[in-house]
Amino acid sequence: MPVTTTLSADQKEKIISINGRFDFTAHQDFIKAYKSDEKGEKAYVVDLRNADYMDSSAMGMLLQLREYAAQHRVALKNANETVMEVLRIANFGKLFQVQ
């Protein structure tokens, strides 16, 4: 699976893990990963440990997730060097917790 999810113990945070290329091919799975929650219900962590590439459509997906999370935080974790560079150039650190 390109996208897998796990819930934190208190059910308040969902961890969405990306495997392989994070691009438009992951779109359906990525949306499915959070649309089962109510809007504004949970905080999210997008785990990029196994994402080896990320393009601008993936950045669009992250922005949609950010909108969906509403007042809750969205954190981006464990990005590799390539993905981190994309996040850095786009200055996504201003919108997301990049860890």
Partner: protein, 595 residues
Amino acid sequence: MQTAENIIQYPLDKTSPKVLVVDDSKTNRQILKTILKDHGYRVATARNGHEAVEAVAVAHPDIVLMDINMPLMNGYEAVRRIKQGAGQAVIPVMFVTSLTDDASLATCLDSGGDDFITFPINETILMARIHALLRNRERARRLIEQEKQLSRYEDMVAREQEVATSIFRAVMKRDELDAENIRYSISPMAVFNGDLLLGARTPNGDLQILLGDFTGHGLGASIGSLPTSEIFHAMAAKGFGIVDIMAEINRRLHSLMPTGMFLVAAGIEISARTGSAMVWAGGVPDILIRRFGSGSIEHIAARHLPLGIGGDELFERSFDMLALEPGDRLYMLTDGVTEAENASGEMFGIGRLKQSIGEHADPDGIFDRVMTNLETFRAGHAQNDDVTLLEYVCNPGLEHRISQRLRIGAGSRRQVSTEWHIDMHLNAEALRDFDPRPVVTQLVMDVQGLYNHRERLFTILAELFSNALDHGVLGLDSAMKRSSEGFSEYYRLRAERLAGLADGWVDISLNHQPSMDGGQLNIQISDSGAGFDPKILEQATDRVCHDNAELFCGRGFSLLRQLCDNIIVHPPGNLTEAAYAWRHDNEHANPHPGE
């Protein structure tokens, strides 16, 4: 003409398949007809190959059952002709024969037959074969229909793209980039990849460039370039600064585009007078500067988010200031350059780009070298993103000539002279967020028809206002700008102090008096600052800037002196008055030298 029998149809259900039975034996025809009718088929008959070819043209059967040996024309020849005449229509043919030798049966298939069955006929097998052939025919027919649809769709897309391309071409104005010191590469279809390159000049001749890339591909990605281009050109023409332009584009795109779509973009503004460049960059790859003397390469990384992600609350006005010397080269690019892939999926990257820019002995060959290196690197590997690249070479002499030409080229308008007065008070809050220069220039032009004077008026206002704000209200020392480190520090400090500004004000007062042949505009600007020693200015009566450069050039007074008929600084130096006279019949209201 057909005889009655051979075109008789047995209308059952009009949608049921129609079979053409071809046999010279009346008995055989009757047997087949009976079987077929029993299974709900419509039937037409023919007595030989010749009649069969005609019946196909008239009755349009869905399938043909064909005997081999017949008078006039045998089955093989009939099938050849039917298949030949069918064109794209698929008419399956099954030979029904009493011949059983291999050679005859092979000839059945060679002549274009799809199947054969031999007498005596087993009804179940016959019907199963007919069903199979009809199923194949239906599949083939659908495939052909889909191919047709696809090709119609492709034609339509091509036509629409043609129309869209011509509209986009009209909107994506960048004539100002067709200059000796600018080179760029952008594919004509790039707009469908979301790439965008715009160029304009402000009324006082400053060059503004926007290079960007919308997320996504196709029309969806390109549609946002229409409002972007409109805003860019409209605001540039009114003299708005590049940061204001980027802010407005951000606001508009945010309200127009769905979440997840955005524009990574860099806007730069190059002063025609000083050669300095103001850079606002959001989400784009580093802008590179190759210094003329040393050949060293510097970067400006994008400080900001891409445009359109959030409204004003997410837009940051900070920018980079860059001092350019003659021969310095500036490179702007989209990620199509850095992310161009070779056959093994490796990316071109900023490293290879820097190498291409740095290594070259002949600086004028750099642009071509970069394009060639990129092409070689990709080596025919399918282009996954368009390459948009721009090179700007600092050339103050050329910039000056271009801005001159702009002034002369501005059309003359009916000029009416009236008396009027405008006062404007800008407090700390207004100074932080509002640039009065374009608004005031526009006001003066609209009220007064001083269109031909807009560059001069804009420049005068710009100089007076920035003196009042930078040196008066913000207390910055213009001497800082003499070194390139100080230059950057100056603008950093300026942005910092402006953001934290709590007190202070600038007053602008405009007074116009008509005269016999035109009029005189008096501009008065005062500020809350401590002022400066106006004696410095009095020493500069000879209008020669260079001799006294150290003393006052930083404050732009030499320029003001050239543009204005009179300029007075009142003690303690925080109130400046400038007088600008103009005449109806002369585009150059002010025949002072040095223009």
